[in-house]
């Protein structure tokens, strides 16, 4: 009896072994191409495959990225990985430019602004339908806006942060004038109003679908975009396919897009080199050369819209003294950091926002690297030589690819001018929480812009209103505050830019941070991927992409 057990066990093991070996030896021929024959319940029934690029290359793009989406209801999410997908399922009334944040027609083909800046009239595209067949019209827009307005603040976070000021709704009212005209009435002028509307969170969803789905709309999203939702395997892949009735003739060019979550940067590059994905986000600057040296791959640069900085908590000694903050700005060799850790794919920062943004003050140049000047300033400030804590970012971000190593350089720079420091780090959520509470002396952090507006950088990061939120440096200057508040409702572009330029001058003098770099995030793709244009906001439209 027991003998039998042992033998049957070894038999099973032997069989498993044989299977294992058989699998190793099997060739790819029979597995890699889609086989629609046997299984009727499979989700990939592609009946509407119209080949538009005479070639026979399958128009399927596999996009590898660092993390999964949280939800596919754009109104309710805040993470970039969700927007990366919803950007292709939904469309906004206005679009950003292909690779910038200028305003272009979207679901609205024309618009007019009243002279007082309080009334916006949009003419909508006609003949547009949602993926579920619902008509896109003025009523659909109104229902979407009312959904955002009526929802709780924590549910529709972006709407509340962009279209609410001091507890008051900026969008007072939305009305229809006929089927394809909507009028937005504002309670106060808002300079970046059109830019805000172009942001991914404000993709227009099918009212029929969200009314029926309720809270689960994020699992079954329905928009007007070039692609429609097919399947989601959490933490693994999201599949979307061409929407055959898309209103723009001949688009999209791809039949299917699959977003795969591949958390490790090196593993993602391995996948690309092995050929199982076509496009990879989040390439380390240090891997840029490997990609460039491979003739089967192409390196793609995402236009920069970020800032990496060293924050100096303005309320803590010794950084409560402006002279010490300026000294640190002179002490740090920013160019050396950019050369060594961004592989030169970054620009040394002078201001809290990148130069592509309207209102950038190009009369300001970065504090030069000048240790002697730094020492003199420290002496003048009467700095006591007490050790400070230097916080190193624990996670790589496009604006800071390697926090630990950059911290070591900064530590050395500071030591050279006589500021001893100790490098500390925490798990990311802890790091942010403690920094927000003002517990750091000097800390690394950064920001990627949402809508390409100066307000989204300077007010968000450095206004006294945002202390305890994004103003981690606890910088507070009433003059700056006044300029920034005025700029928010100033609709004359030139006047507004002057306000921001003035604010940047004061900030440069006050030196609440050491602005380090504006980096260029990298992506890599197979050579056959055509017309992929990464967007500075990180939400890429794949409408025009094709495979050769």
């Amino acid at each position: 009896m027991k003998k039998g057990k042992v033998y049957s066990l070894s038999l099973v093991m032997l069989l498993m072994m044989a299977l294992f070996l058989a699998a190793c030896g099997a060739d790819d021929g029979d597995t890699s191409t889609a086989d629609p024959s046997t299984d009727s319940s499979a989700t990939n029934t592609e009946s509407d495959t119209t080949d538009n690029s005479s070639s026979s290359t399958p128009q399927v793009l596999v996009f590898g990225r660092g993390a999964d989406s949280v939800s596919l209801d754009p109104g309710t999410v805040t993470d970039g990985e969700s927007f990366k997908v919803t950007q292709n399922l939904f469309e906004t009334l206005l679009n950003f430019g292909e690779q910038d944040t200028t305003i272009n027609p979207g679901l609205a083909k024309e618009w007019e602004v009243s002279e007082d800046g309080l009334t916006y009239t949009f003419q909508l595209q006609e003949g547009v339908t949602f993926h579920d067949g619902t008509d896109f019209n003025a009523e659909a827009v109104i229902k979407n806006v009312n959904r955002w307005k009526g929802g709780k603040e924590e549910d529709f976070y972006y709407f509340n942060s962009m279209f609410k000021a001091e507890g008051e709704d900026i969008i007072k009212d939305v009305t229809a004038e006929g089927d394809h005209t909507v009028v937005f009435t504002l309670s106060r002028p808002q300079a970046p109003f059109l830019k805000n509307l172009a942001m991914s969170p404000f993709g227009i969803a099918s009212p029929t679908a969200f009314e029926a789905a309720g809270d689960s709309f994020g699992d079954q999203p329905v928009g007007t975009g070039p692609f429609k939702f097919v399947d989601w395997k959490r933490n693994d892949s999201i599949t979307i396919e061409k929407f055959a009735e898309y209103w723009q003739e001949g688009l999209p060019k791809l039949d299917k897009v699959i977003f795969r979550s591949i958390p490790d940067n090196s593993a993602r590059l391995n996948e690309l080199m092995a050929g199982s994905i076509d496009l990879a986000d989040g390439i380390n600057p240090s891997d840029g050369k490997t990609v460039e040296g491979n003739s089967e791959l192409q390196l793609i640069e995402r236009p920069s819209m970020n800032i990496g900085y060293l924050g100096l908590t303005n309320t803590r000694a010794p950084f409560d003294n402006k002279l010490v903050r300026q000294a640190v700005n002179y002490a740090i060799d920013k160019q050396a950091i950019v050369d060594a850790f961004f592989e030169g794919r970054a620009e040394v920062a002078a201001n809290p926002m990148p130069s592509s943004i309207s209102g950038y003050n190009d009369a300001i140049s970065p504090y030069p690297y000048d240790p002697e000047k730094a020492k003199a300033l420290l002496a003048e400030a009467g700095y006591d030589g007490k050790e400070i804590e230097l916080w190193a970012m624990p996670v790589p971000r496009p604006y800071m690819p390697d926090g630990a190593k950059v911290a070591e350089v900064i530590q050395k720079n500071l030591e050279d001018v006589g500021i001893p420091s100790k490098i500390v780090t925490f798990e990311w959520a802890t790091y942010l929480e403690k920094a927000k509470n003002g517990e750091a002396d000097a800390f690394m952090l950064g920001w990627t812009g949402d809508n390409g507006d100066a307000d989204n950088f300077i007010y968000t990061l450095l206004d006294k209103d945002n202390i305890g939120s994004n103003n981690y440096a606890y910088y507070s200057n009433d003059e700056v505050h006044e300029l920034l508040i005025k700029a928010q409702s100033e609709t004359d572009e030139n006047v507004r830019n002057d306000l921001y330029k003035k604010a940047q001058e004061i900030i440069h003098e006050d030196a609440p941070w050491v602005p380090l770099a504006h980096s260029t995030p990298l992506l890599a793709a197979k050579a056959g991927v055509q017309d992929f244009k990464p967007h500075p906001t990180g939400s890429d439209k794949l409408t025009n992409v094709s495979m050769k």
Binding site: K3, K5, V6, M13, M16, L19, F20, A22, A23, C24, A26, D30, T31, S32, T33, A34, D35, T38, D39, S41, T43, N44, P58, V62, A67, V70, T78, E153, E154, Y157, Y158, S161, D215, D219, D231, K233, N235, D236, S237, T239, R260, S261, I262, P263, D264, S266, A267, N270, E271, A274, S276, E427, A429, T430, L432, E433, K434, K436, W447, S469
Partner: protein, 334 residues
């Protein structure tokens, strides 16, 4: 026997209760506010306060704890704070993914580990013995991160034999029924996909199996050496039995108890502790699910995830204890 199993299952209750309590306290002791993490860096103080209220995070900790316990006893594992989905429905695909990989890895580990251990003991101090034990030493000290990337480089990029990562060929996805893809593909009659799923299992399976293989090999060797010196082995040899039969039939059975213990412990470890492998190989498993939940301070997911992993760990050990009686009839539980 049934009595024994019943008693062991009763013992589970205080163990799991104690564990939920510890986990509950520890994750709340670490700084970081879930509401803040969910809403992101951009969030306003008002939005955070509103969300905290909605999530019940402002209640005293003991109220939160008893709410949580009440949920568990009524079969409700809670909702994820981040995705707002019920954990009970969300967790199964992750568990299945981890199970499939862990079992695959343990089969590799047992086949290679046990045989390497036996042969090393049989030919003690031979070149095979030395080599096997050196390799085992390398195996236990191998950083999985590095091993995984090297595997990808060699077998996927250079040789092109195996897929780099993931569970399936995404261009031809498996339609999930049980979420065990080896079973699902067979249910659909897609043998080509079945082979593809096996191919996807091999590299992460080997990476995950490395440490257990080495530990099992060392344990088997040590245990076999001891048994081989005992009288009954000498008697069997003296009777003229073939060495192969003596080793694999008489000695192995007696040497198997400690090996089985190690196998049980290692299986439990693989279920909960495969985060590195799951990250390198983009495996959508339970380890990564819980790990990411920690980053997002998704308290219910951390609690319920760890609870389930702990439950499985204890169950596996129970199964191992029962298996003792199958292998050695002298062991009886009363």
């Amino acid at each position: 026997m049934l009595h024994y199993i019943g008693k062991r299952l009763l013992h589970l209750i205080p163990v799991l209760l104690g564990m939920t309590f510890l986990v509950f306290l520890i994750i709340r002791a670490i700084p970081g506010d879930p509401a803040q993490v969910i809403l992101g860096q951009q969030a306003t103080a008002d939005a955070i306060a509103a969300l905290r209220l909605k999530l019940g995070l402002d209640n005293p900790w003991y109220v939160q704890y008893f709410d949580y316990l009440k949920g568990i006893f009524t079969g409700n594992l809670g909702d994820s704070l981040r995705t707002r989905q019920p954990i009970a429905s969300e967790i199964w695909p992750y568990l299945a993914a981890t199970f499939e990989l862990a079992l695959f890895a343990m089969i590799i580990a047992v086949i290679i580990g046990v045989n390497a251990g036996i042969i090393s003991a049989w030919f003690q101090n031979s070149w095979f013995d030395y080599m096997a034990m050196i390799i085992a030493l390398i195996g236990v000290s191998m950083p999985i991160f590095w091993l995984g990337l090297m595997e990808q480089w060699a077998f996927s990029i250079q040789l092109g034999w195996l897929p780099t990562s993931g569970r399936e060929e995404v261009r031809d996805p498996v339609t999930a029924i049980t979420h065990f893809y080896l079973i699902d593909t067979l249910l659909h009659g897609r043998f080509d996909q079945f082979v593809d799923v096996i191919k996807h299992l091999i590299l992460p399976g080997i990476a995950l199996a490395t440490i257990p293989t080495a530990i099992i090999a060392r344990m088997t060797r040590a245990s076999m050496l001891e048994v081989m010196r005992s009288d009954f082995v000498r008697t069997a040899r003296a009777k003229g039995q073939k060495m192969f039969v003596v080793v694999y039939k008489h000695a192995l059975k007696n040497a198997l108890i400690p090996v089985l213990t190690v196998v049980g412990l290692q299986t439990g470890m693989l279920l909960g502790g495969a985060i590195l492998t799951e990250t390198i190989f983009s495996w959508p498993g339970i380890g990564r699910y819980i790990y990411e939940a920690i980053g997002f301070r998704d308290y219910p997911v951390i609690q319920s995830g760890i609870l389930i992993v702990a439950f499985l760990f204890v169950m596996i050990n129970l199964i191992v204890d029962i298996l003792y009686t199958v292998i050695d009839s002298r062991i009886k539980y009363n």
